[in-house]
């Protein structure tokens, strides 16, 4: 990676990114994505207090890279994690058809009618 690489410079000086034009911003975002460093760059920018100055679309891309969409209503708390595991365990491709859950499923899949 060349020392002139825009991504390297962005990590070294996160404030630089906020001052870039659209073309250069696209370039640094592309480089970050290609290197698998988008999320890390977003945290680096956040730590440096430079993230608020970025265009909304860049912040959306950063949020997507972190895999954390904006918080929404109706969160059910930690119980969801257990329920999620339960649902996944009941999937036929996980072998659940062999058990009693599987027998119930055979009556409902495909549904009657």
């Amino acid at each position: 990676m060349s020392p002139d690489n825009l991504l390297l410079r962005a990590f070294a000086d996160p404030g630089l990114v906020a001052g870039l034009g659209a073309e250069r911003l696209e370039l640094v975002l592309s480089q970050a994505r290609l290197a698998g460093l988008s999320a890390r760059l977003s945290y680096r920018m956040e730590d440096a207090g430079a993230i608020a100055a970025l265009p909304d679309r860049v912040n959306t891309q950063f949020a997507a890279a972190r895999g954390i969409p904006p918080p929404g209503p109706g969160r059910h708390g930690p119980a969801v994690a257990g329920a999620d595991r339960g649902v996944r365990a009941a999937r036929p491709d996980r072998g659940a058809d062999a058990g009693c859950h599987g027998q119930r499923r055979r009556h409902t899949w495909p549904p009657a009618g």
Partner: protein
């Protein structure tokens, strides 16, 4: 300014020079290409899509460029570049347009984790959307096109983009990819809509793109609430009927059509749970397209429309 406002020559100049920033649903794509056939196909299929200003930052930088390689002795080749890299092998230049569409799908699935993404067509009527989910070949696109003929608005032919925070579906009304026999079928069903060049011998057989209706593109910032989830399955000699599905069954089936369920984890589980809770879920085996479209259309007619439209903001 729209893509179709530029002459083919003007568009070619832009594509081969600074590129064109096109707003496609919630995404902004910065596209470059020096391949005239591709630019012409793109101009046809995306004629109504708006071109954005040069100062707007795009989500993806995509280049469809001529390529070399040993296959060149057989026919001209092209390559799909994104972020300055080649995620795929080169492909025949004659199928640059379908390949670019698949490439864009890959970009969205791989990076747009601000949305929960399902492999499905989505159409809307009176503010409420029906998600037509299913694997390739299940008849989603054909059924989607048939519903357009009955006054539904196209939200998407390929993806349902669910905003996990707001619970609404965002439109991305890209061209509808028609395959094989459905090309002729839809041509007869929707004579007022235009189907582009036919691409024979692609990886998915013969393929053509239905230009999205102008209204769908003009309203591409208007989301819709999911009201129905339908799993169509086209099969010869199938009895065409809407079969209600249990919510738990529908949840599991929809999850298998979700591209980033595991990536989003709890957020995905909660968002999909809310979607399934709020929507009515059906299986739709069908042989006759018109009957199937009539059944789905009946869902909207039997139930009263929403009192107030969803707030776009």
């Amino acid at each position: 300014m729209k893509i179709g406002d530029l002459t083919p020559e003007e568009l070619h100049q832009r594509f081969s020079g600074p590129g064109v920033r096109v707003r496609i649903g919630p995404f902004l794509i910065h596209l470059y290409s020096a391949i005239r056939e591709f630019v012409a196909d793109f101009r046809f299929a995306y004629a109504d899509f708006p071109i954005c200003e040069a100062h707007e930052v795009s989500d993806f930088r995509v280049r469809v460029a001529p390529a070399g390689g040993w296959r060149l002795w057989r026919e001209k080749q092209a390559a799909f570049w994104v972020d300055g890299a080649l995620p795929f092998a080169v492909f025949p230049r004659r199928i640059a347009m379908p390949f670019a569409e698949w490439g864009l799908n890959w970009c969205i699935c791989g990076y747009a984790h601000q949305f929960l993404i399902f492999h499905s067509a989505v159409v809307e009527k009176a503010g409420r959307a029906v998600i037509l989910a299913g694997p390739p070949g299940s008849g989603k696109s054909t059924l989607c096109a048939a519903l357009l003929a009955r006054g539904w608005r196209l939200l998407s032919d390929e993806f349902a983009l669910l905003d996990p925070a707001r619970g609404c579906l965002l439109p991305i009304p890209r061209p509808v990819a028609l395959k094989g026999a459905s090309i002729r079928l839809i041509e007869e069903l929707l004579p007022h809509l235009r189907i582009g060049r036919v691409f024979p011998h692609t990886d998915k057989g013969t393929l053509a793109h239905l230009r999205p209706p102008t209204d769908a593109v003009e309203r591409q910032a208007e989301p819709a609430l999911p009201a129905w989830v339908v799993f169509p399955t086209h099969a010869e000699s199938a009895r065409t009927e809407l079969v209600p599905l249990r919510k738990a069954t529908a949840f599991l089936r929809l999850e298998t059509n979700c591209f980033n369920y595991a990536t989003l984890g709890r957020t995905a589980f909660e968002a999909m749970g809310r979607l399934i809770e709020a929507a009515e879920c059906y299986e739709l085996p069908f042989e006759h397209l018109a009957t199937a479209a009539g059944l789905v259309n009946g869902l909207a007619e039997l139930q009263p429309a929403l009192g107030c439209p969803l707030n776009v903001a």
